[in-house]
Amino acid sequence: MAPDNDPGTAVPHAAVRGTTADPATPHPDETDPGTPTATPDRRGRAWLVLLLAGGFEVGYALAVGGSEGFTVASWSAVAVVFFLLTLFALSVALRTIDVGIGYAVWAGTGAVGAATLGPVFFDESPTLATAGWLAVIIAGLVWLKLADRPVEPDPTDRL
């Protein structure tokens, strides 16, 4: 299961994390030399890529639905492309965002998108329960975005 192309980095990072001063940097060995911490810009971009990954996941779900069990060639091909795109974008986003948060946001945005667009493309009708659960997910996503800050800035340090 574990790939051996890169044995030096296959080791869990817990052991080397003590060597970095910034606990918010998920992969210290991969950070650009000039930017030892995940800057707000970089974190914001990672969140955009993560939402994009959720969008690709929606495209994948809809294409799989359209492929009717991978029997329709065109939709099957579209599904494979979205499969590659969603995992690629997820992988890019997880360079910066913690994997637990990243997975929840990826699954959450994918579920919201699929439930919202499903009625558009397929013969489904949304229910009140659906709308309620969508609201719960979206509230959690917004909460996570606000909570995903490496260090609490001290307002008294601003001036």
Binding site: L84, I101, T127, L134, G140
Partner: protein
């Protein structure tokens, strides 16, 4: 058997997230291949499980078990300890996704 299929799908979904994190934007070939293979095989085992499981229940168990496993292993293997606020946010999202799927719209 369907519980076994679902368990395998959960383990592989956890592997997808962890290896996607290790793949560093698909710049590491070994982890990239692991990500794609786990993703494909996870989907296959999930579809096997859903042949006998109720689809909503199967998806809900799959997503929430994988979410919990990823948080735990992300902390243990990667040292990505999450504070209470982040854990609460993850829990709300996962509960929402599970609720959505149980309500039949996932």
């Amino acid at each position: 058997m369907h519980w076994l299929f679902l368990a395998v799908a959960v383990v592989l979904e956890i592997a997808v997230a962890l290896s996607a994190s290790r793949a560093q934007g698909f710049t590491r070939p070994g982890w990239t291949i692991t990500t794609l293979l786990s993703g494909a095989v996870a989907t296959y085992f999930l579809s096997l499980a859903l042949l006998t499981f109720d689809v909503g229940v199967g998806y809900a168990v799959w997503t929430s078990a994988a979410g919990v496993g990823i948080v735990v292993l992300g902390s243990v293997l990667f040292g990505q300890s999450l504070n209470v606020r982040k854990l609460l946010g993850i829990a709300v999202v996962i509960v929402g996704v599970a609720g959505l799927q149980l309500s039949g719209a996932g």
